[in-house]
């Protein structure tokens, strides 16, 4: 990675984090999603094809990484941008797609730990902004009310995301260019296995949002066996699901009309 590439990726780590200047709908819920993040890293590092190979599994593993009830698991953008960048920077050391995915998850895990710490620091430092806002409110300063939230929040947000992300990327880049880097085969097998198991994280947590009664387990299993016994692809399953959902909705409305 060149310094410019590292700066750009670190900038996107900040933009894709919670409460960046572009807003959560463009930032956290769009630029921060692994599918988009891997595409952006692919553009920056000039290899969209490889980036998307790791982006899809990353997206599935972190599909449930949303913020229900304000409980943030970790700064997702750290995990996804650094994960994809790790895979692209070290892709010369491995020779299979599962291994590449494993590298991405290893980088994502590292980034996730840093990101989780940074979110904690950000969340704590923001408390002081309340004093600033209270002072402005006391004086009825409607035209300055944006300052604590936007100015203060952005300053803290930028420092806690951009700087550590750049440092981590620099370390990964150094590892990628060091001539002696030779990853042993058993390690590759291990991280490939880890990568392929991580999809269960996203699926298990999403289920906890969706399942509300016993019959929901049967519906989940129906989707499962459509793949294992009938060999449908995901798009076909989405269409079957939409048809079933529409029928259930129509029946629900009809019962009320009767």
């Amino acid at each position: 990675m060149s310094v410019l590439q590292m700066i750009l990726i670190a900038l996107f780590v900040y933009l894709g984090a919670i409460g960046s200047i572009v807003g959560n709908s463009i930032g956290w819920y769009c630029l921060g999603r692994p599918l988009v993040a891997s595409f952006v890293v692919g553009l920056i590092m000039g290899d969209v094809q490889t980036a998307m190979l790791v982006g899809v599994p990353l997206q599935i593993a972190y599909l449930a990484n949303v913020t229900p009830g304000g409980a943030v698991a970790w700064d997702l953008s750290f995990a996804t941008y650094i994960g994809t960048a790790t895979a692209l920077a070290l892709k010369g050391t491995v020779d299979s797609t599962p291994a590449l995915i494993g590298l991405a998850f290893t980088g994502a895990g590292l980034g996730g730990v840093v990101g989780g710490t940074m979110w904690g620091i950000h969340y704590s430092l923001d408390v002081f902004l309340n004093r600033w806002a209270e002072r402005l409110a006391d004086q009825g300063e409607t035209r300055k009310m944006w300052m604590p939230n936007l100015l203060g929040g952005q300053a803290i947000g930028f420092l806690t995301r951009f700087v550590p992300a750049f440092a981590v990327l620099a370390a990964i880049s150094a590892a990628g260019t060091s001539s002696g880097l030779n990853i042993p085969g058993w390690f590759i097998t291990g991280i490939s296995t880890f990568g392929s198991m991580m999809a269960a994280l996203g699926m298990g947590i999403i289920l906890s949002f969706l399942v509300k009664k016993g019959v929901h387990w049967a519906i989940f299993l129906a989707g499962f066996v459509l793949v294992t016994y009938f060999g449908l692809n995901t798009m076909a399953i989405a269409i079957v699901g939409a048809i079933v959902a529409f029928i259930v909705y129509a029946i629900g409305n009809r019962q009320e009309a009767l």
Binding site: I18, G23, C30, V36, V56, P57, M197
Partner: protein
């Protein structure tokens, strides 16, 4: 003459909320500062004296939280009530009470319907596109980047205006009508079928137990028996013949159980998956009984 909030100020207030609701999220007032920022232009327009402005600003930097995209209905309602108060209707306390009362239901609807269902569904459709179009895998992220932010902006703005026009009672009536529950149930069913399919397609896990024995193996090329090994018990093959992909299914249900029932944090579950990956990889490398040896 009655005071009203101009449409320009409404849009200004909405934009400040939509883009910057998450800037200063913290444990003390949650999204309170962002809410105060979005109310500032409205307060500037409705009140003249410094004292009135100060009192109104102080009302809106207190504790507030919601799922901000769908929760823009709260801003609309608060602006409507602030407008009435400026015209001598209602009390400051009723605005505070309305805001506090809206935290729970708007968070619940926003989190369960929008954040936990619609976003993952849209992402799933886009990632499936990326996966199936191997020559143009950029199509998924590009589609998501175009549809999600724009669609959310338009929806959130419509909800914001609905809150302003319908007011607290109108919104509560809609929430109590049951229509939302029916939409919710239909979307949940779609989500469950898709998650079932994704689990079967993308989760991979093997126990890597393959007990072999040294024996004479018939070599078809030379028509002779030579020393070799054959598998006598492959646990993964056995399990898959009973129910295909049962191990990935069990792993997914384990994650569900740990997260939903045992309140494990995602990062802790990730750690456990790492440990399990190390264990099954190690089993795979044991000579004689591992799948890799």
């Amino acid at each position: 003459m009655a005071k009203t909030v101009s449409s320009k100020t409404l849009r200004n207030s909405f934009n400040q909320w939509f883009f910057w609701n998450g800037c200063s999220q913290q444990a003390e007032s949650m999204l309170g500062l962002a809410f105060g920022q979005s109310m500032a232009p409205v307060i500037e327009e409705l009140y003249d004296s410094k004292e009135d402005k100060a009192a109104a600003l102080k009302r809106h930097i207190t504790l507030f939280n919601t799922e901000s995209q769908v929760g823009s209905v709260c801003n609309g309602i608060a602006i409507g009530m602030e407008e009435q108060l400026a015209n001598g209707l209602g009390t400051p306390e009723s605005i505070q009470e309305a805001k506090v009362a809206l935290i729970g239901p708007t968070s619940a609807i926003g989190d369960s319907l929008w954040v936990a269902t619609i976003i993952p569904l849209l992402l799933t459709i886009c990632l499936t596109l990326s996966q199936s179009m191997t020559n143009a895998p950029w199509i998924g992220p590009v589609l998501y980047m175009a549809v999600y932010p724009l669609g959310t902006y338009l929806l959130s703005w419509a909800i914001f205006r609905t809150g302003y026009k319908a007011g607290l009672e109108g919104v509560q009536q809609f929430m109590a009508s049951g229509q939302l529950d029916k939409i919710m149930e239909a979307v949940t069913i779609l989500g469950l079928i898709v998650v079932g399919g994704l689990t079967a397609s993308f989760v991979n896990a093997n126990l890597n137990l393959d007990i072999k024995t040294a024996t004479q193996v018939f070599d078809a090329a030379t028509q002779t028996y030579t020393d070799g090994v054959i598998s006598v018990f492959n646990l993964d093959n056995l399990l898959n013949s009973v129910f295909p992909k049962i191990v990935p299914l069990a792993l997914t249900l384990l994650v569900y159980n740990l997260y939903a029932k045992k309140n494990w944090k995602p990062i802790a579950i990730m750690g456990l998956i790492l440990v399990l990956a190390i264990v099954v990889t190690a089993i795979g490398f044991i000579p004689g009984i591992g799948a890799f040896r």
